[in-house]
């Protein structure tokens, strides 16, 4: 029995590590290809490691002002976007989870319906709207259109529904108003679900490229995926540089993810997806 358990455990270890290696391989290859000469990235025969490690690609892409600028601009945008997304959607989530008011049902249907409208169908007409609002080539055009999200609101609401009523009833008896209850009880308790929605929003912003490509023309506001995709199509022979750029563009999200990792699984557990 003991031996059998031991064997099973060992096999699981091996499988687990294998899966991990396979999952990480494409990324590792990308990182390492960034250290290769441009002709070496797709050289035959295949080599995983470079003949000679060289840092020229990384230093060149870091020295490219367009790249660092778009990293900075995208990062700032993503953080603001995530923060606004949390505030706006959690307020609505709280209202729908706890408050009673006239037209609640109507408003609920109104908000939820937007969840089913595919982005592709409104791509062009949204563009016309933002153009008429004079929002082209501003950070606002990147942040505002996607920040209110019925999906995120719904997700947070599920979490709020699971918070025991007893907590706020005490506060209500003490005369606290609803806004106070939201800011002092719900908001602080929300961190697990906020981590998930926050990272989700952040990623959505960071990784988007069709919308920025359409709305941003000013090179000073280029978003990072827009930059990378342009780079890919235009300097198609600079493979090492492209790999280095892709690596660096992925790093902020990876770090963010590692930092918040342990909260994520907790958030998923608590948010009632069981």
């Amino acid at each position: 029995m003991n031996l059998k358990e031991q064997t099973v455990k060992t096999i699981m270890y091996v499988i687990g590590i294998l899966i991990a290696v396979v999952a990480l391989f494409p990324l590792a290859w990308m990182v390492i290809a960034g250290f290769k000469e441009k002709t070496e990235v797709l050289a035959t025969p295949f080599r995983f490691f470079p003949e000679k490690w060289q840092f020229a690609n990384y230093s060149e892409i870091l020295a490219d002002p367009m790249f660092s600028k778009s990293m900075a601009v995208t990062f700032a945008g993503a953080v603001i976007f995530a923060a606004l997304s949390l505030i706006i959607n959690s307020m609505a989530a709280y209202v729908f989870a706890r408050l009673e008011f006239r037209f609640k049902r109507t408003l609920w249907v109104f908000v939820i319906c937007t969840m089913f409208i595919p982005g592709m169908a409104i791509l062009l007409t949204s563009f016309i709207v933002v153009t008429e609002m004079k929002m082209l080539d501003t950070m606002a055009v990147l942040i505002l259109p996607g920040v209110a999200s019925a999906g995120h609101m719904f997700f947070i609401r599920q979490f709020y529904l699971n918070i025991p009523l007893a907590l706020e009833e005490a506060a209500l008896i003490d005369g606290a108003n609803r806004w106070k209850i939201f800011t002092s009880i719900f908001f602080p308790m929300s961190y697990p679900v906020f981590v998930i929605v926050g990272i989700g929003s952040y990623l959505g912003y960071w990784n988007s490229f069709v919308w920025p490509t359409m709305t941003i023309t000013n090179p000073d506001l280029f978003q990072i995926m827009q930059f990378l995709n342009t780079f890919r199509s235009e300097r198609s022979t600079e493979l090492g540089l492209l790999m280095a750029g892709s690596t660096l563009a992925a790093i902020p999200t990876i770090i963010l993810f590692l930092v918040f990792q342990k909260y994520i699984i907790k958030g998923i557990k608590i948010s009632g997806l069981k």
């Binding site: 062009l124 008429e132 359409m214 023309t217 995709n229 199509s233 198609s236």
Partner: protein
């Protein structure tokens, strides 16, 4: 209902524009100075009356240039700066738009009525653009003399219903054969005798194929074939796969079967890679030594000369082989770029002034461009060619001479019909390569084209 909606939208737009117009200081005044014409025909031009009272404000025009080679971008920047410095009336704001983003950005901007005043456009886009009002006729805004400087065939490319809708910047044949002389020798072929028939191209390709080096490459995906095979469609059948009045498909031609077989043989025999190493327009794999022959546009000369200098001695340039070896048949279309003015531009005079300065003015500006492009592109203007012939570097360039003498004279204009037609025929070529029978592939293309003609009421709309 629709009219209402249209009106509301137009109203909002107009209001918005008026507002920004006011903000930017009613800018158009004085823009006509130094311009040959002073039409006063548009609303804005009437503002000229104010010019005496207030100091003239600069007119700012938006210019979107599609991203090309770095050297071209640099040329646009340099001469736009020069233009801005050269006078006080017009300020051009240049934006280089990445090729990938171009179509969607422009489409969105047009939908919102915010297209740039001036933009790059290729020849095949001129007639359809003129037809539906996307671009403006230039006759009223530019000196008629500048159009006389154009070669007659190029003049036709930009003419729709007797009016000029673009000013051309360059022409470049879409298909030229590049081959490796050293590999020819190694394979026992005469490096001075490149293939002239399709059969030879296939035969040589087989001989040149070896481990790590493919015998040849040519377009092999439908989006690339769509435009790069126009020349060969002419070459094979003498016509395009649609009747001249665009009333029905003209696909069922035995010569087209040969064309499809040509591509299919190259693919099935493994002469070209089974998966393209790069897009048709990008000849980098040839420069990197992965191919013995490649078919690409004349622009690739610029790439080789800028990026693969150590290869140059080994490269031979020749016209694309022809179906029967007759090299006076077209093998290429004359692609190329022009500048056009948006149909809704509020500042056509200023825009035209800029286009005239850049493309139709001092030949030295254009010569600077052809030099930076390593003579891989060709002038649509006689005066530029004359001036260039004085230039030792240009006149001594063998490749330029060969293309100018043996490819361009026989090249055809790009078709003006919608892309759907081209892609339908290209899909037939690709499916033949991927194993579909040639007859079936052509039958499908015929049906697709006829369906498209019916659906979009294309019959009789050929603008040329």
């Amino acid at each position: 209902m629709q009219a209402n909606r249209g009106k509301v939208l137009t109203g909002v737009l107009a209001a918005a524009m008026t507002f920004s117009f006011v903000l930017s200081g009613c800018g158009n005044s004085g823009s006509n100075e130094g311009n040959a014409n002073n039409q006063g025909s548009t609303n804005e031009a009437t503002n000229n009356g104010n010019a005496g009272e207030k100091p003239a404000e600069k007119v700012t025009i938006e210019f979107w240039a599609q991203k090309f080679e770095d050297t071209t971008d640099a040329w646009f920047k340099k001469w736009t700066d020069e233009f801005n410095k050269s006078q006080d009336n017009v300020q051009v704001k240049l934006t280089i738009v990445p090729g990938d983003a171009w179509t969607q950005k422009l489409k969105a901007a047009q939908a919102a009525g915010k297209a740039p005043d001036v933009m790059t456009r290729n020849y095949s886009g001129i007639a359809p653009g003129a037809k539906n009002g996307e671009i403006m006729a230039l006759n009223d805004y530019m000196d008629p003399a500048v159009f006389d400087d154009l070669y007659d065939n190029v003049k036709e490319f930009i003419t729709v219903d007797g009016k000029y809708y673009a000013y051309p910047k360059l022409v470049e044949p879409s298909a030229v054969l590049y081959y490796r002389k050293d590999l020819f020798e190694a394979a026992g072929l005469d490096p001075e005798k490149p293939p002239v028939t399709w059969a030879e191209f296939i035969e040589y390709g087989k001989k040149l194929t070896q481990k790590g080096i493919f015998g040849a490459s040519i377009a092999q995906t439908a989006p690339d074939l769509g435009w790069s095979s126009w020349g060969l469609q002419y070459n094979a059948a003498g016509h395009l796969p649609i009747t001249d009045d665009w009333s029905k498909a003209d696909v069922m031609d035995d010569k087209y079967k040969e064309l499809l077989n040509f591509y299919a043989t190259l693919y099935k025999e493994g002469i070209i890679p089974k998966q393209q190493l790069s897009a048709y327009a990008d000849a980098a794999p040839f420069g990197q030594g992965k191919l013995a022959m490649t078919v690409s546009g004349s622009w690739s000369i610029g790439l080789f000369r800028n990026d693969y200098k150590d290869m140059l001695d080994k490269i031979g340039v020749a016209p694309m082989p022809s179906i029967d070896g007759d090299q006076t048949k077209p093998t290429a279309t004359l692609g190329g770029w022009t500048l056009v003015i948006d149909g809704k531009s509020k500042k056509p005079e200023a825009a035209a002034q800029y286009i005239q300065y850049l493309l139709a003015g001092d030949p030295a500006i254009m010569i600077d461009f052809f030099k930076t492009s390593q003579f891989s592109k060709f002038s649509p203007r006689k005066s530029v060619d004359e001036a260039m012939n004085q230039d030792p570097a240009a006149s001594a360039d063998e490749w330029r001479k060969l293309i100018a003498e043996k490819v361009i004279p026989y090249a055809k204009a790009e078709p003006a019909y919608p892309w759907d037609i081209s892609i339908a025929f290209a899909t037939a070529i690709e499916s033949a390569m991927k194993g579909e029978s040639v007859d079936k592939a052509l039958a499908t293309a015929e049906k697709t084209i006829n369906d498209f003609i019916a659906k979009s009421k294309l019959a009789g709309t050929n603008p040329q």
